[in-house]
């Protein structure tokens, strides 16, 4: 007796269709799963048996073989529990083959027969299209984000068999629980002083310029970075779906059935491994922090403390907005179009910004700076030196400008940039004559490289957009130059 049930498994952030074939025949009683299952799938044997018995369904005391086709693709995760159980029930004659026709099944089984949440439901729903989909009741809303209303849910295996036999109808999806929205990013009004730091955030948000902040401990680098997310406009629906898909595949908790429509803010610790940053893993390729930060912000605090290999691995995603993770089992491409914000001390003791205050040896300073390679440093359009805030400003009761006001300017600047005809590669924005002369003098004196010229022009264009002006003026270029002046503190 043979049965075939459609399902899907997760490979990276993409689902792959899987056909689950179950064969029940005479022979010694036993249950084997073939077709490159990982440990979680192999353990499905015990879960499926317990769930079927708990649901008061008969377990065939015969030889059972489940094959996961295509057999060359590795299958991971517990989402294949449900299709194996359904296939077994069909093969054993408990369910008619017709009732699984046109349906795909995904779900994990509990030993009591309950259906449990599976990560990556959006990608799985994509992969099983255009079949109807049966998922755990708690996952219906997530799958419905891409599938509309041909997604059905069931709470237990017992319920599901009754529904498939036509003894009852699909249950109502429980009303969306009123979850408090994730607390929004902290507000910029908490920041006192820091005129330059605030301005750098605004320019970074408006022009999507990567930002490196260099300052001593206590100069507010982390505080500023955490407030950048609040300055970015909400994600357009297409980007929101990409972000939700990635977060779903990574198994992150999602707001109940809702899209993630705020730009994500990811702040991996500096001991993060290369794999955790860029994604990977030996079997199931999991998206890394760079992908989880896509369309949002990747904040690397203490940049100088990250492993050099991890930092260098950031170069491809910074260049291409995507990351290819290759393993023996295959290659997947994850989106990784993030805004990189980094913070570092000027030297190991942290006091290097103030002349004469640094207690590091020249060798240790040089070693610290070498950790940030020139190609990586080049990716930062804005390199801003920060200093500790003035005590009077720190104690002042007057709050700083709130995030909402800055966000409005950012949105307006972005709108202006979009409305302008997209510049061709290598083209530079229109500059006022004195601004052009300033850049020329910087180029001649060697203060600016050809690449630097391009970057400064782009930042100056953003500054002009923030000011609502069509032509880039002397002041705009001056500001762009000042906002990368911190390079002098890092370039040895």
């Amino acid at each position: 007796m043979l049965a075939a049930v459609a399902s899907a498994t997760l490979s990276g952030a993409v689902g792959r269709p899987v056909s689950v074939e179950v064969h029940v025949s005479n022979g010694l009683p036993g249950f084997t799963i073939v077709g490159l299952p990982d440990a979680a799938v192999r353990e499905a044997r015990d879960r499926v048996r317990a769930a079927i018995l708990s649901s008061s369904l008969p377990w065939p005391m015969r030889r059972i073989t489940a094959n996961l086709a295509p057999s060359g693709v590795r299958k991971g995760g517990a989402g294949l529990d449900l299709p194996i159980a359904i296939g077994l029930l069909v093969a054993a004659g408990e369910l008619s083959p017709d009732c699984t026709e046109g349906l795909a099944f995904c779900g994990e089984l509990g030993l009591n027969g309950s259906l449990r949440h599976v990560p990556g439901m959006i990608a799985l729903a994509d992969a099983t299209s255009p079949l109807g989909m049966v998922v755990p009741l708690c996952d219906v809303r997530e799958a419905a984000l891409v599938r509309g209303d041909d997604v059905h849910g069931a709470a237990t295996l017992g319920d599901l068999t009754r529904i498939l036999r036509g003894q009852s109808g699909w249950p109502e999806v429980p009303a969306q629980s009123v979850v408090p929205r994730a607390p929004s990013a902290p507000d910029l009004s908490d920041v006192r002083g820091q005129a330059v730091g605030r301005r750098a955030l605004e320019v970074a948000a408006a022009g999507r310029h990567h930002l490196l902040m260099i300052g001593p401990p206590g100069s507010g680098k982390t505080m500023l970075a955490e407030r950048l997310a609040g300055l970015l406009p909400p994600l357009p629906p297409a980007d929101a779906l990409t972000v939700t898909r990635i977060h779903s595949a990574a198994g992150c908790a999602l707001p109940d059935g809702a899209l993630l429509d705020r730009p994500p803010f990811r702040a991996p610790h500096h001991q993060a491994s290369v794999v955790s940053l860029v994604g990977g893993g030996s079997w199931s390729l999991r998206p890394g922090e760079v992908s989880l930060a896509t369309h949002g912000i990747l904040f690397l605090d203490e940049l100088g403390e990250f492993p050099v290999a991890a930092l260098e691995a950031l170069r491809q995603p910074l260049e291409e907005g995507a990351i290819r993770v290759s393993r023996a089992g295959g290659t997947v491409t994850f989106p990784a179009a993030f805004l990189l914000v980094a913070a570092m001390n000027p030297c190991p003791c942290g006091e290097g910004v103030y002349e004469g205050a640094c207690t590091c040896t020249p060798a240790s300073r040089a070693r610290y700076r070498r950790r940030i390679s020139a190609p990586l440093l080049d990716r930062f359009d804005l390199v801003v030196p920060l200093s500790r805030p003035d005590p009077d400003e720190l104690l002042a009761r007057t709050p700083g400008e709130p995030s909402a006001a800055v966000a409005a300017r950012v949105a307006a600047a972005r709108a202006r940039a979009t409305a302008r005809v997209a510049p061709g590669p290598g083209s530079r924005p229109e500059l006022a004559p004195d601004a052009e002369a300033l850049l020329a003098s910087k180029l001649r004196s060697g203060d600016l490289s050809a690449r630097g010229l391009h970057k400064v022009s782009r930042v100056a264009r953003t500054v002009a957009d923030l000011a609502g002006e069509g032509v880039v003026s002397f002041a705009h270029v001056s500001e762009a130059l000042s906002l990368r002046a911190g390079r002098a503190a890092v370039v040895v």
Partner: protein, 353 residues
């Protein structure tokens, strides 16, 4: 095969277990060849080894000085802790040629310290005074950069063997000092520069100088060893005053409090050398441009920004707070001032020129 006495002295000095003090003891009473014969048990070397080591030194152009012989520096004749052997790269007569001033300080100086050290080096050298320093990173290097080719022969005093420029970054400077003057060491070729040798080196550095000047140093910096050695020998110590807020000026400021003479220009040092009549004024070299009033801004935002600037670098944040301007306007004004030549950008901080 007949080898000079110097060869045996080098051979004894090259025994790994023999430090400067032991060497002094060994060579105090006996001529080097006898001392070598007595210490053979420790070194286990043969006459061939002596010849090999000697050949290596001649090949590298390292000359070897022994006390009581022709070119032994006069300043070391009565020194209580004079080295037993002195290795020289360059012209050993430079050690006795002119008045000598040690310019020493921290390896992690500020721009202020680097500037002052280089200026003093140039001016002293131009006035015919040999600059003595340790060829280390920071103040030492800056002093010799200034002194090389400016007139008098520079003198470098190093801790390790003369075949191994240390620090590597100063290999080029090392060559220039050897060409223009002399580099001396107590260590034979092949000895690595180890930490414990620096205080010993600093003692020799002080002994070879007529005046010791500390440019910038932290409270417990290595310059203390040089100063202590100078004080023990009755050599005058000068210090360059610095900001009371700068950690790198803690050392010189404390020395000033202890009675060191203040050094505000090369002239102050020449006075201490009792040379003021002979060689002052210091030639107005190209590195000290004549002071002329630059046309500063006269009105408006630029003037407000210019007035907020100081001769020390100020952070952009502080300028924004003092002037009350927004960042964009402030940056524009600063770049205009920079183009006019009255403001300077130092790594995102700004100072008045």
């Amino acid at each position: 095969m007949s080898l000079p006495e110097e060869a045996y002295a080098v051979a004894v000095a090259a025994v790994p277990s023999v430090g400067p003090a032991t060497l002094r003891g060994l060579l105090a009473s006996d001529p080097p060849s006898v001392a070598w014969a007595r210490s053979r048990g420790a070194s286990g070397g043969s006459v061939h080894d002596v010849a090999r080591i000697w050949a290596r030194h001649t090949e590298l152009g390292i000359s070897v000085l022994l006390p009581g012989r022709g070119s032994w520096p006069a300043r070391l004749v009565d020194d209580p802790q004079a080295p037993a052997v002195l290795f020289c790269l360059g012209d050993p007569s430079a050690l006795d040629g002119a008045p000598t001033v040690a310019l020493v300080g921290t390896r992690a100086p500020t721009r202020y310290g680097i500037g002052v050290a280089a200026q003093l080096g140039t001016d002293l050298s131009g006035a015919g005074v040999s600059v003595v320093s340790g060829l280390a990173l920071g103040i030492d290097g800056a002093a010799h950069e200034g002194a090389c080719g400016a007139g008098a022969s520079p003198i470098g005093v190093v801790a390790g063997g003369l075949d191994d420029p240390y620090p590597r970054r100063h290999a080029r400077l090392w060559e220039r000092v050897a060409e223009n003057g002399v580099i001396v060491s107590e260590s034979p070729a092949g000895v690595r520069t180890e930490k414990w040798r620096f205080p010993v080196r600093n003692r020799l550095l002080a002994a070879l100088s007529d005046v010791v000047v500390v440019v910038e140093s932290r409270h417990h910096g290595g310059s203390r060893h040089t100063v202590d050695a100078a004080v023990a020998r009755g050599i005058p110590v000068g210090a360059v005053p610095g900001s009371i807020r700068s950690a790198t000026s803690e050392g010189p400021n404390a020395l000033l409090a202890d009675g060191a003479f203040p050094v505000c220009s090369a002239g102050d040092i020449l006075v201490a050398l009792s040379l003021e009549g002979a060689t002052v004024p210091v030639p107005a070299s190209a590195s000290t441009p004549p002071r002329r009033r630059r046309p500063g801004p006269t009105s408006g935002t630029d003037l407000r920004v210019y007035e907020a600037l100081t001769p020390d670098p100020v952070a952009l944040d502080d300028l924004a707070r003092v002037t009350g301007l927004d960042v964009s306007a402030l940056c524009g004004a600063l770049e205009r001032l920079a183009l006019a030549g009255v403001a300077l950008d130092v790594g995102g901080w700004w100072q008045r020129v």
